[in-house]
């Protein structure tokens, strides 16, 4: 590991722009191209939104921890909440049937599309850790 950054935020949606700015700085530092940086930023934003809204249920006493691990060829981001746990497999496929026109349920699908790895891990404390990896593909678009 060359560099690591760990931050802790309160469970307020206003903090999403703070996380976005930090993620944008990390991807710029690592020299991801514009498209890849955008999708990483969106994926982290989606994950932190879920942690604040669905994990911690906007409880200001609960925190969200975000960590960025920067290696020469890959960025690892983990997002941990203090909620009651989460079953990623229980999320309906947003591409199927009536789900297509539902107003919600696309965030995790986008994360899985734009990141190279996305895993959901239960924490011993009861919350959820989302583990995401984006490989740095030099000389390519980095998109999709």
């Amino acid at each position: 590991m060359v560099n690591a950054i760990e931050v802790m935020i309160g469970s307020a949606l206003d903090n999403l722009d703070l996380v976005q700015a930090l993620t944008d700085s990390v991807t710029a530092f690592m020299k991801f191209d514009e498209d890849a940086a955008h999708w990483v930023g969106m994926s982290v934003r989606e994950s932190v939104t879920n942690a604040i809204q669905h994990g911690n249920k906007l409880d200001l006493d609960k925190k969200v921890e975000i960590s960025y691990g920067m290696e020469p060829e890959r960025l690892t981001v983990t997002v941990r909440d203090q909620g009651g746990g989460f079953q990623a497999d229980a999320i309906p496929n947003p591409l199927e049937g009536d789900n297509l026109l539902k107003p919600s349920g696309r965030g995790i699908f986008y994360m899985r599309t734009f990141m190279d790895e996305v895993d959901f891990r239960p924490l011993a404390t009861g919350g959820t850790e989302v583990h995401m990896v984006k490989m740095l593909k030099r000389g390519t678009s980095g998109s999709l």
Binding site: L13, L16, R45, E46, T49, P103, G105, L144
Partner: protein, 112 residues
């Protein structure tokens, strides 16, 4: 996020700029479209050319707006999708749902 409203005949064109994300951005779209529908408007064009950021909640709001307008007997068209919004709609099969235009006159003419 900011929305500027224009009218061409009975067509309402909403020039959107900024971010459509969870919270303020999504509420701005929702409230603006609701006001148009309440005032009897049925033909709406959402110009997204200057929208620089959309998250899944923003995409959800576009879907919700489409459903609300359609169920109310109206029509909603999308104009000037950015490359990134187009990608987000495409991978969730929503490009098959919306009528999308690159040319404003073509969007206006499509209402018939």
């Amino acid at each position: 996020m900011e929305i500027k409203k224009r009218e061409v005949g009975d067509i309402r064109i909403l020039d959107c700029s900024g971010k459509i994300t969870l919270g303020e951005g999504t509420m701005t779209v929702r409230n603006t479209v609701r006001d148009i529908l309440n005032a009897g408007g049925k033909k709406i064009i959402l110009n997204l050319g200057d929208v620089n950021y959309v998250d899944s909640s923003g995409i959800g709001e576009l879907v919700s707006t489409y459903t609300t307008v359609t169920n109310g007997g109206g029509q909603l068209k999308l104009l000037h999708l950015t490359k990134k919004i187009q990608e987000l709609l495409a991978i969730t099969k929503l490009l098959t749902v919306f009528q999308v235009f690159e040319d404003e006159q073509a969007a206006i003419a499509s209402f018939g």
